[in-house]
Every structure is written in structure tokens, then in C-alpha cells.
Subunit: 227 residues, 2 copies
Amino acid sequence: MAKLYGVGVGPGDPELLTLKAARLLKEAPVIAYPAPMEGQGLARSIVGDLIPAGRTEIPLRMEMSLNRDSANAAYDAGAIEIARHLDEGRDVAVLCEGDPLLFGSFIYLLERLGENYSVQVVPGIASPMASAAASLMPLATQDEAVLLVPATRSEEELERLIVSCETICLFKVGRHLEKIRRVLMKSNRLHKARYVERASQAEERVLTLDQAIEKGGIYFAMVLVGP
Amino acid sequence: MAKLYGVGVGPGDPELLTLKAARLLKEAPVIAYPAPMEGQGLARSIVGDLIPAGRTEIPLRMEMSLNRDSANAAYDAGAIEIARHLDEGRDVAVLCEGDPLLFGSFIYLLERLGENYSVQVVPGIASPMASAAASLMPLATQDEAVLLVPATRSEEELERLIVSCETICLFKVGRHLEKIRRVLMKSNRLHKARYVERASQAEERVLTLDQAIEKGGIYFAMVLVGP
């Protein structure tokens, strides 16, 4: 029986793929990945050289928008196409930035295909670890707790959540930097915050939150707040 | 100037090393790693074949105990020995199970050497991602939050923390399974819990919490609680 692989390709540096991901991508006859309406997208670009020529590629094209309609349509259509390959005995590897199960696009395919097909997930380097490495900031030691939370949550919820843990990793910060600054000022932790952009990539930058706000936040960034 | 590398070697499957970790371990003239008083320990065993013969190896031998005296002494002595190699121009790669900055032993060397030497961290696959892959459980999607917390925290603290997040990853669960069960029963989430032992290793097991309590918990295990 053919297998559906969810393959984490890490935060951007092609060397941060695992040996397992690299092997599977060389072997898999069919490769699928989320992609913008034009161009190849980050996940496909990370593994550029690793996929042999002539493999079947399925870009799941979607608009990058808060509205989920385009993404849902792409996953619906993609799941049908992937299922056809699996039914005909061909393994399919789905590329996923970071880790497949932590805010990963693979979750949407797992929801659609997980019940009827054999699935294996290859974990990937997730952005909190890549951002911690970029800023040499320990995430947790001894009995400390770490909160991973999207900055899309409301200001009230972030205020409530942020006081509970020694370390906070804020995802999806791009448009929410002003809100994050207000929340951290209230809890007196603004000076502990670092904005990390494109961790592990050539354009990696580590900034204070004030510097990031002045420059403007981007999608591929996160804010770490230390104890 | 020689460099100190903190190298994440992942959760146990040697194929879950990154390409970067594998390259650095082939190149580094000196390799250090935490180890029990006898034997080589998990981190060194994961990279078994990757380190060429004849390299200088520095096992940081410590008693596996709640008392930190033995570990602190090993990191103190290890830091001095590592510094000597760096001073003489030799790069040193420190192996670390999982990720170096998430409950990683490398943090203790970073504290001792980070100010005076050039440091680079290579992130590794951390146990929450490996455990999620083992149990095919999404950790977070959309605006969900994830809590990473050691089960060594008090019952009252765990109760307070656990209600705040959609997904909980409990570290260091071995001796705390009964406490975890009480906390999860109170918050009505026991049926959402999975105990994952030795994720990614040949002996990997995914159990309910009741099954795990009956069998007995081990050190290399975590409990995931889904939404």
C-alpha cells in the first residue's frame, strides 16, 4: 500500500533538512507542496536541488489571505489528486515548511486523507528552535514553561496567556507588532523580546521589537520573549 | 577564531539529524557530550557512525539525579577542557539530544562559555515534534496555542497552566504520571492524552495514560494532550 508522507523541510536553510527528509524526497515519485498562485513558494525552494528531475509535482496553489476559501479549495483539490496517486500505488511526499504538525499545512491534508491512507510524518526543525538558535536564547531549562502562541489572538487573550510562562514564542507576528508591544509593556517584558526574521536563511535578522516596528514586520518572523 | 557548536542530534532516530549536524560532526576535531558515569549515553549513541575514528572525544560524565551537583561539576570541568581546545584553535561540537536550547544540556555550556567564545547553535528535532509525528497528532493550527511544560511543576501550577492552552506537551513525565492523570481528570482532558515513549526510536510506543501508568513511565517519554 502506498504511503502519504508529511515531510518537514525546516525553516529555510536547506542544510536544516533531516537526513530522512532528504532520502524520502529523492525516493518519492510524487511531490506535493503548498504554493502561491505564481512561483514555487518557500517549501519547494528549500529543497530545490534535492528532488530529481522528472518527478511528478503537485503545487497546491492558494491565495495568501486571511480568508481560508482559497486554501480550503486548494487542499480539497490537492487531496483528490494525491489520493489518485496513492490509489495507483505511488508514494506521495508533501513538503511542509518547519514542522508538519506545528501550524503546518500538512494538517489540512491529514484531515482529508488520514482516515483512508497510510500516513507517516517526518518531523522538521520548527521556527521556535530556529529563532532561538539565531538569537542564542535558551527557550527553557529545568522546570521552565514555554508558550507557543499565534499573535493573531486578541490583545486580552495574549495578556492573559503571556503572564503564565517563562518563555513566549509568538507566531505570525507580521501585522501584530504594535499589539505585541502594548501587551509586553503591560507585563513589563518588552526588554526581554527579540524579533527574529527569516531564521536560518541568508537574510536572517535579530532585532529589538522597537527596531522591528520601525522597519516593518514580515510574515516569516517570530517574536521570542525570555524569562 | 575557533567556534563552539551546540549541535542538536534529535530524538533518537539517527536519520533525524539535520544535514548540517551530520556535516559538522564529520568536520569537528573535538566532540563533547553529556554521558552517564558509565557508557556513552543517548546523544553519542545517536551519532554512532557519523564521527570519524580518532577524533578527540570529551564525555561530560554526570550522575542522572535530581540533585544538580554532579551535573554542575561535570559542566564546570567540561567547560574548562572545551575552552582549552577553543583557545588552541580547534572547533568543538557539543552533542545535544533533541534541540540544544529547549531543555538542552548545551544551555549549561552556553552559560559558561558564551561570553568569551564564538558560538553557533544547530537546531535539532525536539521531542514535541517527534512525539506528535509518532502519534499523528496535530500540535496546533490556525490560532491555537501550545504549552511546553515539565511535569516536575507542582500539581497546582499544572492545573492552572493546563487550562490556558489548546495543546499541552508535558516533558519529564517519568515519575509524574499519577499527578498528570489527576490534573487531566480535573480539567476533563484525560481522554485527549497520549503517552509517547522513545519517539522515533525502534522501541517507540504510543499509549493511553492509563496504559502507561500500568506499565510504568520512563525518562525518555512525554505526554501530549490535544484540544
